[in-house]
Symmetry: C2
């Protein structure tokens, strides 16, 4: 067993310290004969501001007060404290949970949540209070992305602590769950990361040797990237200094997958460090449809509605986002990553990839 | 490099032989001055019969004739031959593809498909003609299941051929893509397989050591099991003689996930060997909702409609299926696998699992 102090251990200690402080506030109020109160950062659109340094949206200074003086606050106050207790249990036992799982445990313990939305809300309030994403107190997404590449990791989870695995050993990819998310990076020969929305294209990159040709780690997000995968990508960038290139379909959903990865999601503006501001959206751009004469489909009414929504979103006011949304209106069409296969299965890796990387690196 | 003959190689040889025979029929017809003709098993509900030996629905003896004498048949005839050519290319180059990818390659080569449905249909006709599932000619699903357990595999795909990996090395699971699907089983200390619909429950099983306690391989299907995962489960049963237990939500979708795994899907009645007749649906049964007093939700109108559809499906005319569908009408409620967490995170593995396995093994 390694005696090294893992990053995951430092995170755990930080969360436990903040949980303890939270408890002390409540206890000391009671001991001083005061009604316990908490001030929780307000997670409203009016309290979201763009932080130039962090290059992401963050919460402003507005707080909501939760005071046990007010009988209407008592229920959410108690719910929040229960979530905090559960978070502590997860950390102490080294177990993990999900939003849904947490809701069921709460029901079993007689905590009065109307539905899962209510317990989800409390988990997000705890994230605000602790300034840690819920993954740091072991509440993980249900969805799984996967990873493949020249990187050796060391686990920190119980039962696997100190064990290592070489992520180039399995070409279909290693699922990214609690164990991989909290692992240490031990040795990396890769020089960049390709993040890929589609399983078929991930397999194509493996089969055409894109990982070797570009010394690339490949990540398959399987649609919208789960939060823990976004955090992992951020760590690959911050800790290993790897440039990140993101490949999605050229439709409003693909565009938004890239954007959320880079700018963060509106829903997690209260959480720092799970977006990757330096990541680059590398394609398929809507403008690639004309440029590469890709097989394409008509944008549906639903697509067009979604594009309109994105156009008023602050994250889409600069290029390439603004330019590429405009392109949608010009061509009224969308295309998938697999569309490059019209030029043969190897075209995307042998022709498109070097062309696009050269172009992006020139900028 | 291993000089062993892999099963994947035998499959490849079988498909190539049948592809060649298909070509020879066409060529010899032409050389004999005849219009080439093919007789393709009819994939209609009227031609589906239950095979008692195989314990799955299979196609009956009705065939459709495709003859180049008929000008309306010329187009699908040519499309089918193109798909056969593409299948041969995939096998010869060791590359893989998906239904969608294949459609784009077809477009690029000027093959006249109206849309992907049409190329999908031709791929299924080729499956019928060759009596091989499309995975055997390297057309894989886009979706990824994952696997974890005490099993060492050896790859047969180019670039990894002869290399081995221990599937107990990564507790979040190994993604099941083309490489894992075609791998050889080298060494297995596991004694059974748990197939699990939900990622949260897969992680729970790992964290509570269900794999060690039961010497179990764990498979996470992430919803409906992709076809190549079903095939892999079938192989774990046939080649390693492992009993298979399936865990799904107690809702009409969960029930059907278990049923398709066991009985096969209507869409793939023309394909043998991708269902697992000996697999056992181990829960959550709708009757478990009352028995374990699980937190549950009201069945929606959509759920009720789906249950009615299942009730007229021939696969649901015997127990436990029939009995459990009836239970839905009695309680009008559904529950998720995670609902056991009401009794604590470890309940599902420590209490429910041994109880259910004892019960099933007694029968």
């Amino acid at each position: 067993m390694s005696r090294q102090i893992y990053k995951a251990d430092r995170v755990k200690r930080s969360v436990l310290t903040r949980l303890k402080r939270l408890g002390e506030i409540v206890v000391s109020d009671i001991e001083n004969g005061k009604f316990p109160e908490l001030r929780i950062p307000a997670r409203t659109t009016r309290n979201i501001i763009y932080d130039e340094d962090l290059r992401q949206y963050v919460l402003g200074s507005r707080k909501i007060e939760r005071t046990t003086k007010n009988i209407r606050h008592l229920r959410p106050f108690a719910q929040l404290l229960w979530i905090a207790t559960f978070a502590k249990q997860l950390l102490k036992t080294g177990k993990s949970s999900t939003l849904r799982d947490t809701y069921y445990v709460a029901i079993g313990e007689g905590i009065d949540f109307d539905d899962q939305n209510e317990s989800d809300e409390m988990i997000m309030q705890l994230e605000c209070l602790l300034d840690h994403p819920r993954e740091d107190f072991h509440i993980f997404p249900e969805e799984r992305a996967s990873i493949y590449g020249d990187l050796i990791i060391e686990y920190t989870v119980p039962g696997f602590r100190g064990k290592r695995v070489d992520l180039s050993a399995h070409p279909d990819g290693f699922a990214i769950g609690p164990a991989l998310t909290t692992a240490e990076f031990v040795k990396c020969n890769a020089e960049l990361v390709f993040v890929i929305e589609k399983g078929a294209v991930f397999s194509r990159f493996v089969e055409e040797g894109a990982d070797k040709k570009y010394k690339a780690i490949l990540i398959h997000t399987a649609g919208q990237s789960p939060r823990n995968c976004r955090k992992l990508i951020r760590r690959l960038h911050d800790e290993l200094n790897l440039p990140i290139y993101v490949f999605t379909d050229a439709d409003p959903y693909g565009v938004h997958i890239a954007s959320v990865l880079i700018h963060g999601s509106a829903l997690s503006a209260h959480i720092k460090g799970i977006n990757v501001p330096d990541a680059v959206w590398a394609g398929v751009w809507p403008s690639d449809i004309r440029r590469y004469r890709l097989p394409s489909m008509k944008l549906t009414d639903r697509d067009l509605k979604r594009i309109k929504e994105l156009e008023v979103d602050p994250r889409y006011q600069i290029d390439p986002w603004k330019r590429e949304l405009k392109e949608f209106w010009k061509i009224k069409r969308k295309a998938e990553l697999e569309a490059f296969s019209r030029y043969g299965l190897d075209f995307i890796v042998k022709e498109f990839l070097p062309e696009r990387l050269a172009e992006l690196q020139k900028r």
